[in-house]
């Protein structure tokens, strides 16, 4: 049964349940808030201001959301670039989460744009400014969303029995996969570069020419963290077996990337002599240590092989690394960003409700698609193969 481990199947079951119902209500609330935003403007529903022109719709939904959505890219890279075919069962679920994460990040950007009707200017030669980091991020994310839908297309084609198109797509899939690895490398690093032009307004702990590498390495390790998290949640939510035999070695890869990251991060801080900032008695310094404690925690949690077979510890390690990434990004874009005295920002309730609504779309979409389409590894085959 060499094949068994590649099989994916719909989970089945009812689409209407408590989880989907709650998600539906939250999405409806978001729609109401967005209506107000488009009629009355950004100020009517958000706490955005000229000291903090980027709020959670950008920093959480796009900067953090897209890094969370790196699971698809991180796992696909293992499988297809480093030829670790054994991780294949993890590809589809991870890709699905990425697809949602990125598509919704794109939608969040449109909602946040003050002059959204002009958004196509980014892609238009007369307007596009190739010196702008935002231009690079926007074009690259758009391309990646398209590439991911193609990468994920086999799932729909399979379901609807379109085997001819499926076979044709298979032949070109390696190009799509290569692009699907390159594009996130480009824009995840550029999301870090976004901070560079903000110059001295960003605390030296997060302002460096190494930002692209720092954001890339954390996005990759967050990708693995999300897969750990999501595998454990899907297993308990759907009462399935946890793929520990896959998660254990993958967690090891994750620790490797993370170790490389910490070397780069602290090496850079030492070389620039910026570490002193971390020992000032400020909230910003505290936030720096919380961030790095989260990045170091996985080594304590799953540093040894026995711990890596413990689903609870794998889950916690995944969560820790996700939080590390969250803090790195919040710190750079909001907490360690200072335009001068007098400016404050904390998201408003409606603003939070939109972010929560976006997250609900992800959860709802994940449930509907895994129940109806072949995404998660087929359970019986899986049990037979590993009994």
């Amino acid at each position: 049964m060499a094949h068994s481990q590649h099989l994916a199947a719909p989970v089945g079951g009812r689409l209407l349940n408590n989880a989907t119902l709650v998600a539906g209500v939250l999405i409806a609330i978001m729609a109401a808030v967005l209506l107000a935003r488009f009629i009355f403007g950004l100020g009517a529903v958000t706490h955005l201001n000229d000291g903090y022109p980027f709020g959670i719709w950008i920093v959480v939904d796009v900067v953090i959301g897209s890094a969370f959505a790196c699971g698809g890219f991180s796992v696909a890279m293992l499988v297809y670039i480093f030829n670790r075919g054994e991780y294949h069962p993890l590809v589809r679920p991870a890709l699905l989460a990425s697809l949602f994460g990125y598509t919704l990040a794109g939608i969040s950007v449109i909602i946040d744009l003050g002059r959204y009707v002009n958004f196509w200017h980014i892609y238009w030669p007369g307007y596009a400014n190739i010196n702008s980091v935002m231009f690079e991020v926007a074009v690259c994310i758009t391309a990646y969303v398209a590439v991911m839908w193609i990468e994920f297309a086999p799932v729909f084609l399979e379901k609807f029995g379109l085997h001819d198109i499926r076979k044709k797509l298979d032949k070109a899939l390696f190009v799509v996969v290569a692009l699907g690895t390159l594009l996130p490398m480009m824009h995840q690093s550029s999301i870090g570069t976004l901070l560079v032009v903000m110059g001295t307004q960003v605390n030296p702990l997060w302002q460096t020419q190494m930002l692209p590498l720092i954001y890339l390495l954390t996005a990759i390790s967050m990708g693995y963290g999300v897969v750990l998290f999501e595998s454990c949640v899907a297993a308990s939510g759907y009462r399935r077996k946890i793929e520990t035999h896959l998660l254990d070695p993958m967690a090891k890869v994750m620790l490797g990337v993370l170790a490389a990251y910490l070397v780069v991060r602290f090496g850079d801080l030492l070389v620039r002599g910026a570490l002193g900032e971390a020992f000032k008695p400020t909230f910003v310094a505290l936030s720096f240590w919380v961030e790095n404690f989260c990045f170091a925690a996985p080594f304590l949690l799953i540093g040894n092989a026995a711990a890596r077979r413990n689903p609870a510890k794998l889950f916690l390690a995944g969560v820790a690394i996700m939080f590390g990434g969250v803090f790195l990004r919040l710190n750079g874009f909001l907490i360690g960003y200072d335009t001068g005295p007098g400016w404050n920002y904390f998201p408003s309730a409606p603003e939070l409700l939109v972010t929560i609504g976006m997250f609900s779309i992800e959860v709802l979409g994940y449930i509907v698609i895994t129940r109806t389409f072949p995404v998660l590894p087929r359970e019986e085959a899986y049990i037979k193969a590993h009994a």
Partner: protein, 337 residues
């Protein structure tokens, strides 16, 4: 045994490819290293001399009028235009520094001072580098940093990027614009210049070519504090002589805007420490130069992405079908073994 039948060896190959790419990017010289830009030779700007400013705010009112901006209120009774900061509808503001008893003008302790806040028209502007759709541009001849609402997508990256907090967005509008000083470029065609400089009674705000303004600023720094000297008003680089005699201030020996981020076209003189009056310390290399150096080192001519894509395609080509993305409907080599 074919190489691609050994997953471990292929894994290693993947690592080698990835390592090669990483090494190439690490050692690649920043060919595109972009130097900080300097002001164009005919750059236009303003010189604000805080020691001459009497805080009359005629320039604030004139700026409102010249740009057809409405009054903004911060008091209970909306009687006068009383903005507390520049905004998308207030491009120019005189802010006050106060300390202790506020007895002496232009004294750091127990004194007070005024400072103008408006766009500095940077030599290497962060807002222009940041804007993804060229809605912020710098005129090649005059160096004026201009805004075009027809191009703008309202992303507010310029707001985040500007070190002086100058571009501001209209959050209270359903389809807001950015607002900022454009050095009254719309007034030049009928012989006018910056309204703020035109109305300034003391010449504290002076209009002209930045080269001339810089020379004038340096002349003032060399004056003996308290001595009587002549001070021009209005337009330094043309127009009638409106100069008058006044006492030279006790200047800090620095022209703000001479070197900051490569220089700005609006220059400032002050008797109070610049950071205390809200002008931040900025290094001589512009953040825009750092940002664009990174951007073009990584993506210049798409060279690096193409190389990486090549390596990735090579690796993916060997592995995609072996891994067998096909879900049990044939096509997987592993299935045929």
């Amino acid at each position: 045994m074919r190489a691609d039948e050994n997953p471990r060896r292929n894994f290693l190959k993947g690592c080698v490819a990835a390592g090669g790419v990483a090494a190439a990017s690490a050692v690649a010289p920043p060919v595109a290293a972009r130097e900080t830009r300097q002001r164009p030779p005919e750059a236009l700007g303003l010189l604000f001399d805080a020691t001459l400013c009497v805080g009359c705010k005629a320039c604030v009112a004139a700026c409102k009028q010249a740009n057809e901006n409405p009054a903004e209120f911060s008091t209970v009774d909306p009687l006068w235009d009383t903005p507390l900061d520049t905004s998308a509808r207030t491009y120019n503001l005189i802010k006050m520094y106060r300390h202790g008893t506020m007895e002496t003008k232009d004294a750091e302790t127990n004194g007070y001072a005024f400072m103008k806040t408006s766009c500095m028209h940077c030599a290497d502007p962060s807002c222009v580098s940041a804007c993804p759709v060229s809605a912020m541009t710098k005129d090649a001849a005059t160096g004026i940093v201009e805004y075009n609402p027809e191009a703008c997508i309202g992303c507010r990256y310029c707001v985040a990027a500007c070190p002086f907090g100058i571009p501001k967005y209209q959050y209270d509008s359903a389809y807001g614009k950015i607002g900022k000083c454009e050095l009254c470029r719309h007034r030049t065609k009928d012989g006018h210049y910056s309204a703020c400089a035109e109305v300034c009674p003391t010449g504290a705000t002076l209009y002209g070519k930045t080269a001339d303004l810089l020379a004038e600023a340096k002349r003032r720094l060399a004056l003996k504090p308290g001595s009587i000297a002549r001070f021009p008003r209005g337009n330094l680089s043309g127009g009638p002589d409106q100069s008058y005699e006044a006492y030279a201030g006790t200047y800090k020996q620095h022209v703000y805007g001479d070197t900051e981020y490569g220089g700005t076209q609006v220059l400032k003189l002050s008797a109070v420490d610049f950071e205390k009056v809200g002008m931040p310390y900025l290094p001589p290399e512009a953040a825009a130069a750092h940002s664009e150096t990174l951007q073009h080192t990584l993506y210049g001519g798409l060279a690096m992405p193409v190389v990486v894509l090549g390596a990735l395609t090579w690796a993916a080509r060997r592995n995609v079908h072996r891994g067998g993305d096909s879900n049990g409907d044939g096509g997987s080599k592993e299935g045929e073994k």
